[in-house]
């Protein structure tokens, strides 16, 4: 939870920061073209992420030998405030007019380094990044020599390109003050409410006929012991009555097109096609409980259920009198060769439900068979202590010797488990076995990830742009994630993350504009033959023919460069990705 709070406050702080930045817009410096390139190269160790594999000092030394490089140094973390200051100092001291940072991927860190260059008076388009982490040190971890050679190649290419970079000025795009929130569980509803309360129109889309998601199925939630409906009802009322929230239930997303500021959404709402436009998107599709089919007699014996099924039984008061209950934790979770991640909520949930059963009937014996108890934070540790004091028995089993469920007469069950602390087998007769399995991604997750062009991690949950720096952002601008779609979380963690996602999504909508890269095409009129091929291949109608000359409509150009690759006379110039720059990279790569 604490890390989620950090996430949320980080998001808010970041929000304030960017808003301030936006206020001092309009100081883009263009210039420095005529001067000979003076390139500074900053090579990042990234702690041991790069430095542990690549010989960074050697790369620095090598950089100094490259043409137009007047200064090179290494930093422990180039992205730290100290590292950024080093860049600014380097620019001043050595009169740099081009900066190359060899570190991680431009997809996460380019904006930061560009801003730093701008602060020191170097146009941001004169900055170039050499990705020696994601595409070098992290993928060649056991080949330090080869990784160092490849890092030099990558830096040489970046320097070759930097030499030919030209200063440019950003283009501004309007952002529609409306958001799409996908999923109306506790995370989606909270994100929608936060945005709607800030005055933004919200389309809240839910696949199921009703809102509430997983929370609808729960009994009481830890650590407050409130019933789920107590938590849920006020939210549902607020969402349903909010004049700026358009709730679409039994609705699925059909297509998502466009960019931050202008997404075109098509949904299928109860068989009817609905279209709308939004500026930002929040993914809050949640997760489902993994079904342990065939394990521990699940599906074979009626008395073997999952923790979520127990929640529903407790919610409906259907439990009845039981002699003994056995809970088995880490079922198909934390398995090095299988589902490797921790279910996160299972320890606390089972302790809570065990206490509920025990408090309802002192006579019922409750056993919790665990591998490790992860009672993180203050409240959960207290519950754990309370559970032990209440007489709940905790038995430690090992991954390679899991408990076995045996058939007993008269519908009873028997669990045999090897207690690793007592070094002996224990047999427990019981009426109910409850299996804690981890949450997993929906079957529809993959399709949505493809539609939004955002990634899923190896655990199949939606993957944020950066675990620490952009915990609720995707690498694609204008799309954010919260709740269990991002990985197992409890209610409070989901709510905190929903607040953070809403806060992040509100930034571009509040400003009303995003700056877009000046990566657009232009025409060298003296070379253009007027064949019109570029006009034919452009899908955005950004090229018009004026007499025998092509002309680029700058606001319509999206910067793909398809036109430049088709021009027979090489008279279409794709700014920031010019033929000359790319060929210089090719040349440097193969030298």
């Amino acid at each position: 939870m604490s890390d989620s709070i950090a996430q949320a406050s980080g998001a808010v702080a970041k929000a304030a920061e960017i808003m301030t930045l936006a206020r001092c817009e309009g100081r883009v410096k263009v210039g420095q073209t005529e001067e000979a390139p003076r390139i500074g190269v900053f090579v990042c160790h990234c702690g041991i992420n790069i430095g542990g594999v690549v010989n960074v000092p050697e790369v620095v030394k090598y950089s100094m030998t490259l043409p137009n490089v007047v200064y090179a140094e290494d930093n422990l973390y180039t992205c730290s405030s100290e590292g950024l200051n080093r860049i600014k100092e380097g620019i001043k001291k050595y009169n740099l007019n081009r900066v190359v940072v060899a570190s991680c991927t431009p997809r996460t860190h380019e904006p930061l380094f560009r801003a730093t260059c701008e602060e020191a008076g170097v146009n941001k388009y004169l900055f170039e990044m050499a990705n020696v982490r994601e595409q070098c040190s992290w993928v060649h971890m056991h080949m330090p020599k080869e990784a160092t050679r490849k890092a030099k190649d990558i830096v040489r290419m970046a320097v070759a390109r930097a030499r030919l970079l030209e200063p440019r000025k950003d283009i501004e795009i309007d952002v529609r003050p409306a958001a799409l929130v996908i999923g109306a569980g506790v995370a989606g509803m909270n994100a929608a409410l936060r945005l709607a309360n800030q005055g933004f129109k919200v389309y809240l889309v839910e696949r199921e006929p009703d809102v509430g998601g997983m929370l609808k199925r729960l009994h009481r939630i830890y650590p407050t012991w409130q019933t789920a409906s107590e938590v849920l009802e006020p939210m549902v009322r607020a969402v349903k009555s909010h004049k700026r929230i358009e709730l679409l239930t039994s609705t699925i997303i059909k297509s998502v097109k466009g960019f931050i500021g202008n997404f075109n959404i098509i949904v299928d709402s109860m068989g009817k096609e609905v279209m709308f436009k939004v500026g930002t998107i929040i993914v809050a599709t949640g997760a489902i409980e993994h079904e342990p089919i065939g394990l521990y007699g699940y599906g074979k014996y009626e008395g073997v259920i999952t923790q979520l099924q127990l929640e529903e039984i407790l919610r409906d008061g259907r439990l009845g009198m039981l002699k003994a209950v056995v809970m088995i934790l880490c079922v198909e979770a934390r398995e090095p060769n299988g589902r490797a991640y921790c279910g996160r909520i299972c320890c606390a949930t089972s302790i809570k439900n065990a206490l509920l059963i025990k408090r309802a009937s002192q006579e019922t014996d409750v056993y919790i068979l665990y591998r490790d108890i992860q009672a993180y934070g203050k409240e959960l540790e207290e519950h754990y202590r309370a559970a032990r004091e209440a007489g709940i028995t905790f038995i430690n089993y090992a991954l390679d010797n899991p408990p076995k469920v045996l058939d007993e007469p008269f519908g009873r069950l028997k669990v045999k488990v090897y207690d690793v602390l007592l070094h002996m087998d224990i047999e427990i007769q019981c009426d109910l076995i409850v299996l804690s399995t981890p949450m997993i991604q929906h079957v529809h997750g993959k399709e949505l990830s493809r539609m939004l062009k955002v990634p899923l991690g190896t655990d199949e949950f939606f993957l944020e742009a950066h675990l620490k720096l952009k915990p609720v952002d995707f690498a694609t601008d204008g799309i954010y994630v919260c709740g269990t779609a991002h990985g197992p979380k409890d209610v409070s963690e989901s709510v905190i993350q929903a607040y953070a996602a809403a806060s992040r999504a509100s930034i571009p909508m509040a400003i009303g504009k995003v700056r877009s890269e000046a990566i657009i095409a232009s025409v060298n009129e003296s070379k253009c033959m007027g064949c019109g091929l570029c006009k034919d291949v452009c899908r955005f109608g950004a090229i018009v023919m004026e007499g025998r000359r092509a002309k680029v409509m700058e606001l319509l150009c999206k910067g793909c460069g398809v036109c430049a690759a088709s021009c027979p006379s090489s008279s279409l110039i794709m700014r920031h990705f010019t033929d000359r720059q790319i060929i210089a990279q090719i040349d440097a790569a193969l030298r």
Partner: protein, 155 residues
């Protein structure tokens, strides 16, 4: 013709939106692959001018891998279709001038396909390793001269 200890050099063009992110994901997931590939980021696979590929071979690349979003998923609607048409045509041209067309490969790799990126790289490195060095690289060999002459003839 295979050099002993021949380490191919393969240039990879990655589109910014899908494949570059896919390659990053391979890194984030610590999926290990051979270091014979050198990345060049472009905004769209449709930006890859056939000339870039030819320049790469001319300068001695043993292989060129062009990667983009899956068909239908292009950030720019259909730039990747453009790439497909161009690379298919280019493969024929390569055969004609005597460079094996397997030295050029086009693959669709999404932002979520880190594993696929690593797999494609491994396959490509092995395939090119079997083909041996780009004949243009060993400029002096008969084969290299042959390819150069043929290429000149086509101009």
């Amino acid at each position: 013709m295979m050099d002993k200890g021949f380490e191919p050099k393969i240039l990879v063009f990655l589109c910014n939106w899908c494949s570059y992110a896919g390659a990053d994901l391979a890194g984030v997931s610590r999926i290990q692959y051979q270091p014979n590939v050198i990345p060049i980021r472009v905004m769209c696979s449709g930006r890859v001018d056939p000339r870039f590929v030819l320049e790469a071979f001319k300068r001695g690349a043993d292989g060129v891998l062009v990667t983009g979003c899956h068909l239908g998923d292009c950030h720019y609607i259909d730039g990747n279709y453009m790439a497909e048409v161009r690379m298919r045509f280019l493969k024929e041209c390569l055969e004609e001038i005597g460079l094996q067309s397997e030295r050029l490969r086009l693959e669709w790799i999404s932002a979520s396909e880190g594993e696929k990126f690593a797999k494609v790289v491994e396959e490509m490195v092995e395939a090119v390793r079997k083909l041996g060095p780009n004949p243009l690289r060993s400029g002096g060999s008969n084969e290299g001269r042959d390819v150069k002459e043929k290429a000149r003839g086509r101009r």
